[in-house]
């Protein structure tokens, strides 16, 4: 009797502990969203936070497709952009008719716009998954982006359509003119959307989406139509992408055809994949990193997009789980207490890997600035792009770094194997 009671109460305790940590994470996230602008209150950081918030919703919505349902889309910006356009038109209509609709509701309009478009084209698009879906999404993306330049009265041609977010009805005295108010509006929607999307992954629909991703044939055998499941997932993804688009429209007070374009679709793919598609928080990390890099690197280098491409290729080739995948790989090791086996090899590998990275950066910047003749300022050390010493330094860092780094990477793999073996013996790793 008492024997039976102990495990149950232990299980209950564990359950409540995990529930506590689960809700704790969400509460911490919400608190962070509230507190962040109070700590970093400069205009620049407020703008950055707003953009990061939007990017988080967008990347999470993309992950409903890629991570949850296994649909690789190259045209996700279509729903995002159409949501943005609908939001702008809604704001203009609300302002001109003096409807009593406050600004915070507008992103919902964007979401409905994204969902409506998904509803329209989704059935044909989601007939098949895999490469075919990828190509169709690319084609639809190009179709909409090119059409937007033709339908000038709706999309405003090259210049886009502008709006004024302060012309709507104020809410509790907030006019949403200052960036801080817009930030809180975005933060509110980030929280709502993130919770909703997380909840979606826990519903039977979310689970069957995972099943469709992993084995559509078996899904058919248990009586579900994978086509319908993909269609539903596509609509949900479109809805949240539309919310992100609506928020962007509010943030910039404009919607133009660049919102719909291939660059935007590529960026969200980068965010989601670099962050890691296998875990819910992966795209959040990716969105933060990519947006931060995008904002930070544009000031430092003219070829920042190349760095994105290189980071992306490196992730695809060496860590297809993304940053979240790398982090979560260490979890069983931490639990088993064998992380200390791998830490030294990481520290050893860090030096040549850093040298390799610096070599790559120096090479790229040398090539990029060769004709312009600008000086390169690499973390405080000046280099002249036309000087042979720079070329030699770059070559030595690149080649030497690679050769040494390769040896240390092998050491990591060995140390990792040892740690994993011990963790497996202790029962923390399947």
């Amino acid at each position: 009797m008492s024997n039976a009671a102990i495990p149950t109460s232990a299980a209950a305790k564990e359950e409540s502990a995990s529930a506590l940590s689960f809700y704790g994470i969400w509460l911490i996230a919400a608190a962070a969203l509230v507190v962040l602008p109070l700590i970093f209150s400069s205009g620049g950081s407020l703008t950055s936070f707003s953009l990061i918030g939007i990017a988080i919703i967008f990347a999470l919505s993309y992950n409903i497709l890629l991570g949850q349902t296994g649909l690789l889309s190259f045209g996700h910006a279509v729903q995002y952009g159409l949501g943005g356009f609908l939001a702008v038109h809604a704001m203009n209509a609300v302002a001109s008719h003096n409807w009593p609709i406050p600004l915070p509701v507008i992103p919902l309009v964007g979401g409905i716009g994204g969902m409506a478009f998904a509803l329209l084209v989704g059935w044909v698009m989601t007939k098949r998954a895999g490469t075919v879906f990828a190509m169709i999404s690319l084609g639809i993306g190009e179709l909409v982006a090119s059409s937007s330049l033709i339908l000038r009265s709706v999309f405003g041609g090259e210049s886009g359509i502008t709006t004024d977010r302060t012309s709507l009805m104020p809410l509790f005295g907030w006019t949403f003119g200052p960036q801080i108010q817009v930030y809180y509006l975005i933060a509110f929607w980030v929280m709502i959307s993130a919770i909703a999307m997380y909840a979606l992954t826990r519903t039977p629909l979310g689970r069957i989406c995972n099943a469709v991703r992993d084995n559509p044939e078996r899904v058919e055998f248990i009586g579900y139509d994978p086509h319908v499941v993909r269609y539903l997932a596509y609509m949900f993804a479109g809805f949240f992408a539309g919310i992100a688009g609506g928020l962007t429209a509010i943030n910039f007070e404009i919607a133009n055809s660049a919102y719909l374009g291939a660059t935007q679709s590529g960026l969200v793919l980068f965010s989601a994949f670099i962050g890691g598609t296998a875990y819910f928080f992966g795209p959040i990390l990716g969105a933060i990193l990519v947006t931060y890099l995008q904002l930070g690197l544009t000031n430092v280098t003219s070829v920042w997009q190349l760095y994105f491409g290189i980071i992306f290729i490196a992730i695809v080739m060496f860590a297809p789980g993304g940053i979240a995948g790398i982090l979560m790989k260490h979890r069983p090791l931490i639990r088993a207490g064998t992380l200390r086996f791998v830490i030294p090899s990481y520290l050893v590998a860090a030096i040549p890997t850093l040298a390799l990275a610096l070599g790559i950066i120096l090479t790229i910047e040398t090539v990029a600035r060769f004709s312009g003749g600008d000086a390169i300022n690499l973390f405080g050390i000046p280099f002249a792009a036309t000087a042979p010493t720079t070329w030699v330094t770059a070559a030595v860092l690149l080649v030497g770094g690679f050769l040494v780094a390769r040896i240390t990477w092998r050491r990591i793999a060995e140390a990792w194997d040892r740690a994993a073996t011990v963790a497996r013996d202790r029962g923390y790793l399947a």
Binding site: G130, M135, S146, V154, I310
Partner: protein, 315 residues
């Protein structure tokens, strides 16, 4: 009108043959390796820029041979060190790798050669009007392009249908593991096919560069059309890719040449209706919608014949 039709047909066939130089490689790579090579149009762009640079250094004719070979080597490197290592992560990872490559190649090209078009000129030996159709002089360079692409097309056909290598490639298209069991080095076949496919794309770039615009966004402009071609023709079908290339080449060229709109046929709309999507559609010319025609075609094909024109499989 007859003049327009003749010239547009010539241009359309030319563009179609160029598309086929690219789509043939893409189709063969796709059916053999299951990889949709996003970077294929980037190899075309690399060909154009290599051709431009080599023409400056050593002249057009050596460049015509060397630039495609260089692109082929780059392609083989991508297969050997990129795709082969990524293969274990599945097709999505491979597709994403080529996507990242396409992105990186565009950035590298614009970093080295700048974002504005480079001055890649038609070689002097071919810079004269070859034939006169009605009143239009048709440039000799375009005839040269047509001849090169037709020669490559025939060479490809003969290689695939009449040689031992072609036999192995054909077998590897449908039964890669069986070909491996028979003792052929499938990995090397893949690498060679990838290299040849990239070299063909590079060749298309070298010869198209002087005639079209050689610019760092040329891959991004052509890439999606290329995918339309191979989906439209039927994934994995070479004859399908051929027909689709010609068809899309012709459609694109004719659409650009035509200046009609609904307004010019039925007269302008009543101005009292005001600006609306209807007036946009009413006033848009066929030339203006030329860029979206391929994608419209793609959507139509996917609705009515999902396996494409001559395709046999759905995915």
């Amino acid at each position: 009108m007859a003049e327009l039709i003749v010239i547009s047909t010539l241009n359309g066939v030319l563009f179609g043959m160029l598309l086929f130089l690219l789509s043939s490689g893409l189709t063969v790579i796709f059916s053999m390796m299951g990889v949709l090579n996003f970077a294929h149009a980037s190899f075309y762009m690399l060909g154009a820029f290599f051709g431009f640079q080599l023409t400056r250094w050593i002249g057009f004719w050596p460049a015509l041979v060397i630039a495609p070979l260089l692109v082929g080597v780059v392609g083989m490197g991508v297969e050997r060190y990129g795709l082969r290592n990524t293969h274990k992560h599945g097709h999505v990872a491979e597709l994403l790798l080529t996507f990242g490559l396409a992105f990186a190649i565009e950035e590298i090209v614009s970093m080295i050669w700048g974002k504005s078009p480079v001055d890649y000129r038609v070689p002097a030996a071919l810079d004269f009007p070859a034939i006169t159709v009605f009143s239009t002089n048709y440039p000799a360079y375009k005839i040269f392009m047509l001849v090169v692409s037709v020669v490559i097309f025939i060479a490809l056909l003969v290689t695939l249908k009449r040689t031992r290598v072609g036999l192995i490639v054909q077998a590897a298209l449908t039964h890669p593991s069986m070909v491996g069991h028979l003792g052929h080095n499938v990995g090397r076949v893949f690498m060679l096919v990838f290299g040849v496919g990239s070299a063909l794309a590079g060749l298309a770039g070298v010869i198209a560069g002087p005639s079209l615009v050689t610019q760092s966004d040329m891959a991004a402009l052509l890439g999606p059309i290329l995918f339309v071609v191979i989906v439209f023709g039927g994934l994995g079908s070479l004859p399908g890719a051929f027909i689709a290339s010609l068809l899309i080449g012709l459609i694109q060229t004719f659409a650009v040449a035509l200046n009609g709109s609904l307004a010019s046929v039925f007269g302008p709309l009543d101005p009292s209706l005001g600006a609306s999507p209807l007036t946009d559609i009413w006033n848009v010319t066929i030339a203006q919608i030329a860029p979206i025609l391929p994608y419209l075609l793609l959507v139509l094909v996917l609705i009515f014949r999902p396996m494409g024109l001559l395709g046999t499989r759905e995915s």
